[in-house]
Symmetry: C2
Subunit: 752 residues, 2 copies
């Protein structure tokens, strides 16, 4: 059994090698024309410059945080002085390793992504299939590095911190890894999210609206910053987000597993998330490799089928392959790890099978989220259509319709989360474990482990999902490079099709990230309560009682924290965008030849200056919301105690889930309502009434129509919702969990 | 002690007489010119027609609900068959009485309000002072009836249901009164809120934007519907809202008081909310009477002071008088009711004093809410200024800024609520009561009663606040009547000034209503848990444990319910407004002479048809959100049991509080950003940068400027937020409490 610890370690090392192979594959491709290379170089310089400065800032903050946390735990922790110091240095080391791994995977992933964009644009000159494969493999580098480094970090720390000899105590020592990952993720996502939207809003408001030049026009000084933004926001930011998800979920499950280990002496409970995670990496690599250039139907042979539908279908096929292989992995892993214990279970079904079922529930939840997100944000379904039709009566009704859709779209995902939690808990509850706390009815640990298994199942396809996500900014950039370097129309058709697929996959990843965060949350709460119990040995710590006034007050503050954080994140975009707008206006005024008609006289705008302004603005603006997010739970825990901290954590998590759903899907729906109009789907009859989107006699209200202008306003409103505040909330809710886990000894020290 | 039950009964009868005096006072005033009377008549007919039809619908729904609830309790309740039937018929009777009283006070209050508008307009021809007094006293009819009938209903039912002989059992029998009130309030507020915004949006979008005629222009077919809407939304809706607040709070406090009665045999604990409520009515009547026409400085003598500032100052003075007298009432009432027990308390301070302090905390909270609401939604403070300045860059940034302010404005009120809860609980905890549950540490009933005392203190000024609220639609209508009947400019200046004061007072009332709902919520949770304990006698029912999976799931569903309800309410406005827009367009096309230049040829539009369309639309649209609000908690309670129902209740209440703050204050801030620009406060220098609002050299960007257009869009977005969804949420959260209280026996029956 103990030997299985080598499975995640070996597999994640192989995954790193696989990522290296993908890097090699992508870099070998040609980089396109000189014009393409020039633009790609500018994006590359901008993106790496931002990341360097961002990670430098984060590194300083992380070292400070590590020192503070270590100091607090050494002075105000639990147990003897030696125990305190032991916990303190382990936590600090784990924190820094977590922060480093998260930063490293974000950095390398983005490095390859910005190297893949011109190669994708160049490949599009040859075929759709090649362009698809180059961009997906470029994105997969990030996906595999994130998942592999997260798994490797947790597994190695577990091994090195003595997990095999002391399985019960070790998981608490590596909690710092999750906190370090969350800490980096918060600032990476916030900074990236602010950067991308400040650049986007600045480029649009001055370039498109005031100067009346098209999107991605090289005369726009903010155009490079805008392209850089897609990388630092969607690629580095989301990578850090899911790095944190897998890290936190693995650690949380191991803490629960440690409790079950005490009852069963089976270390399989602890290794369960790691081994299944490793199988998930294998499944994801098969999914990525299943997509080959030759199997893609080229536009010329497609008989008029939409190339974006073809590409999306291929990506979906890869996802289904990943899921199918994951199911095999679930059953194999569950049997290997939990199949040899002498626990019993109801209905004559073996215990390991119940947990395999629970893990399948998680997998199904991820598929449900993919469908629901598509329904609310894509294509021609009711929600997007409703917003597009509301744009007939102007921007006000467009906004109102979008807000109403955003509020509504909370319901289905929440019901799915509740269903998945309930079902996996029920499956887990069928297993009898010989645990005193369980037999006295204090907790139902086997049921809670069922929800943990569901989380593990959901996160098995993480590497594949992340590959699809990073595919988004790569194809977006490839589209911009095609446009700016003046490629032929059939090439641009391919890059545009891939760009539109990328928009869908980015939205799906947000849904997936949120669903996994929601599921992991229950695991992390339970882990926190286990940690408290390990200090206090009082069953009362397992109750997070809202009828207690401090818990109630803390919970209400948690909800207000979510709203305040959103407010600060959205406002930060406004502040950074304002400086960008001023700079773009200044350049147009100071260098009128940017807009010269005669190409001989025309000069390039100062792209670098815009990149710098966005960088500075984002870094400055991310500090306040980040600080509020870190300090509020700490203050509440210190003042009101550990149970109140749990109340804050739980209700803030619920609030974060519903608000992120509102912000992500509302924003996505506005975006796609605009695209719906641009694609000529909004049609009216001669009386001005809306008719079906495919009515051949309908009069198309397309680009430049009044409804289109209203929909652009909706899209602009949605931008900071879906790309800054919403994704940052995913990170925030996991940060709340990890920070509370790490500081549990402090809260208990102050409120014994 | 027992005799004190006559205090609320006598005082509320006197309050009804006082309301009758006010009716007499207002109706004696002259109704103005024939032109004024004609418009007022049209408003009167529209408003009463809507209310008749609305209350007819609600009556049917209420009778159905009463029969269902009685049937359920008779079949699936607690105890012996006789006990079940006893509870069932008491609950049904109390439900119907509550529904009737709520409907009656709403109806009469609105009747007088629509009779006061032309009288206010006419009085404005004579003096500001007289117009102020007429409109305030007209509004006070509603205020005093609401509070008096609520208090009278609870007190009489308590007396008639045998409260003096069986103080412990009786409060549970009158819970139905609160549910009946909530039930009516939900539909009254939803229907009124949808009506007013459908008419408003319809009138604005076609009249102001398409036909380019000013607001309140008699040529607009929807103008009467718009004026009617202000009455049915703000007057009848908010009246029902606060009727419910006082009813629910009184009953909740009495349930807690019944537990303390068991320990002390002092019925004063039960009578506490009723007697203090009676003193509050007296305080409010002194506040209203303190405002006399002669004490108002008339515009001519004002040396250029803004008449709206003068009027607001007078109203504020009346409020301070109400608060000051309330403080006396608090100390007198606490001493009379709780001063003779033999309980002890800490720090050598008498027990009754601790509760008097707690009630003062509630009073202070109401004042804090008044200030915070003003800061976020009024005048020239940062939030409104920020939105106005954001309108410089168009509608998208206006919306983003408003959303960001809306999210932010959650923080201060939540901290105040938390502070008030914590402090009043602390004060209450200083009192020692001889209660077994308290001594074993299960609950801190004396502390919880402290929060109840705070709620009682907060609601003492309710009648005065409601008078100021109904003052809003009266002065709004008076302004419309002045405009439409073509009064001289100095008369219109007076009605405009009062209208602008009315906007502020309406916003304050929403803040007050929400604050009191939040405070009452904790009382109602605790009452629910007491009711459960009375069935189960197991201390475990006092724990609402979020670590329990069904409670967690129910809580998450509760949060999703809040979002779904908001979505449905906002969408209902859109649906009703759409039909209104079509009707107005139809009239302009079918009757071109509406817009004839020559007055001789001009014809009146068909106002009645618009009123009817708004009425039908609102009644149809209110059913779905209402049904969702009623059925979701019932389903969760039935399926997941009583503790899960408590989890849903608590977290949905928290979610409702923060969402209502967001919607009310965000909407109010947009509204006032528009007014800020219209008042000429947005000024720029020659470079186009914003300068101070009073910079004499600044170039004013006023009406018809681009920023103004953007701010109008913000205002339109905010309308359904602040006048439909937000206020309906206040009602929803109290409905959740009362429905859960009423159905507690059912949940327990299914999950014993």
């Amino acid at each position: 059994m103990v030997n299985y610890i080598w499975v995640p370690i070996v597999v994640s090392l192989l995954a790193v090698a696989f990522a290296a192979y993908l890097v090699f594959y992508v870099l070998r491709k040609d980089t396109g024309t000189a014009e393409m290379q020039k633009i790609a170089d500018a994006i590359f310089k901008g993106a790496t410059a931002f990341l360097h400065r961002q990670y430098k800032t984060i590194a300083v903050l992380a070292v400070v945080a590590a020192v503070v946390v270590a100091g607090v735990l050494a002075l105000l922790g639990q147990g003897s002085q030696a125990e305190k110091i032991n916990l303190a240095w382990h936590t600090a080391v784990a924190f820094l390793v977590g922060a480093l791994c998260s930063g490293l995977s974000g950095y390398i992933g983005m490095y390859v992504a910005v190297k893949s964009n011109s190669r994708t644009a160049s490949a599009a000159r040859r075929s759709l299939g090649e362009a698809l494969v180059v961009s997906l493999r470029g994105g997969a580098v990030s996906g595999f590095l994130v998942v592999a480094l997260s798994l490797l970090g947790v597994s190695l720390l577990f091994l090195l911190f003595g997990g095999l000899s002391q399985p019960t105590a070790t998981p608490s020592l590596i909690v710092g890894f999750g906190f370090g990952a969350s800490f980096v993720a918060l600032f990476a996502q916030l900074g990236g999210g602010i950067y991308t939207k400040a650049a986007d809003v600045g480029a649009d408001l001055v370039g498109k609206v005031e100067a009346n030049i098209p999107e991605d026009d090289p005369r726009n000084p903010a155009v490079i910053a805008d392209l850089v933004g897609d990388n630092v926001g969607d690629c580095a930011g989301r990578g850090a987000d899911l790095f944190e998800s897998t890290a936190a979920e693995n650690i949380g499950t191991m803490i629960l597993g440690a409790v079950l280990y005490q009852a069963t002496q089976n270390i399989g409970w602890l290794l369960f998330p790691l081994v299944l995670g490793a199988f998930g990496i294998i499944a994801s690599s098969l999914g990525v490799l299943s997509i080959r250039a030759k199997s893609v139907i080229e536009p010329k042979q497609a008989n008029g089928r939409d190339p974006s539908a073809i590409a999306m279908q291929r990506l979906n096929m890869g996802y289904y392959i990943t899921c199918a292989v994951s199911v095999l992995g679930i059953f194999a892993g569950s049997y290997l790890l939990l199949g040899q214990g002498n626990e019993t279970a109801n209905y004559g079904i073996a215990p390991w099978l119940w947990y395999a079922f629970a893990a399948c529930v998680g997998l199904l939840l991820s598929i449900a989220f993919v469908f629901i997100t598509q329904y609310y944000t894509a294509g021609t379904w009711r929600p997007v259509r409703e917003i597009a039709e509301a744009s007939m009566t102007g921007p006000a009704t467009t906004i109102i319709a979008g807000v109403s859709i955003g509020f509504e779209c909370v319901v289905l995902p929440v019901l799915c989360i509740c269903g998945a939690l309930g079902l996996s808990y029920f499956f887990g509850s069928q297993v009898h474990v010989n645990l005193a706390l369980q037999e006295s009815g204090v907790i139902n640990m086997s049921g809670i482990f069922g929800t943990a298994a569901a989380t593990v199942g959901m996160l098995m396809s993480c590497a594949y999902i992340l590959a699809m996500d990073t595919f988004g900014p790569i194809t977006d950039n490839a589209g911009g490079i095609s446009e700016m370097s003046g490629q032929a129309e059939d090439v641009r058709d391919i890059t545009d099709a891939l760009d539109s697929v990328g928009n869908t996959t980015k939205a799906l990843t947000k849904g997936y990230g949120l669903g996994s965060a929601a599921l992991a949350a229950f695991v992390l709460f339970s882990a926190y309560l286990d940690v408290l119990y390990s200090f206090k040995h009082n069953p009362a710590v397992y109750r997070v009682d809202l009828a207690n006034i401090s818990t109630f007050v803390a919970a209400l503050i948690g909800l207000a924290l979510i709203f305040l954080f959103c407010s600060l994140a959205i406002r930060a975009v406004g502040a950074a965008a304002k400086r960008m707008i001023e700079e773009v206006r200044r350049q147009f005024k100071a260098m009128p030849n940017i807009m010269a008609e005669d190409p001989a006289q025309r000069v390039d705008p100062d792209y670098a200056r815009c990149v710098e302004i966005s960088t500075e603005g984002a870094l400055r603006a991310m500090v306040l919301p980040g600080a509020v997010a870190v300090l509020t739970p700490v203050l509440v825990g210190v003042i009101l105690g550990p149970q109140a901290a749990a109340g804050l954590l739980m209700v803030a998590t619920m609030g974060g889930i519903v608000m992120a759903l509102f912000l992500n899907n509302g924003g996505g729906a506005w975006d796609n309502a605009k695209k719906y109009i641009e694609a000529g789907n909004l049609r009216v009859d001669v009386k001005g009434d809306v008719v079906a989107s495919n009515d051949p006699e309908g009069i198309i209200l397309g680009k430049k129509s009044e409804p289109h202008k209203a929909s652009v306003i909706g899209d602009t409103v949605g931008d900071p919702f879906k790309d800054t505040a919403g994704p940052s909330l995913h990170v925030l809710i996991k940060l709340l969990s990890t920070i509370t886990l790490v500081l549990a000894p402090l809260y208990y020290f102050l409120h014994p």
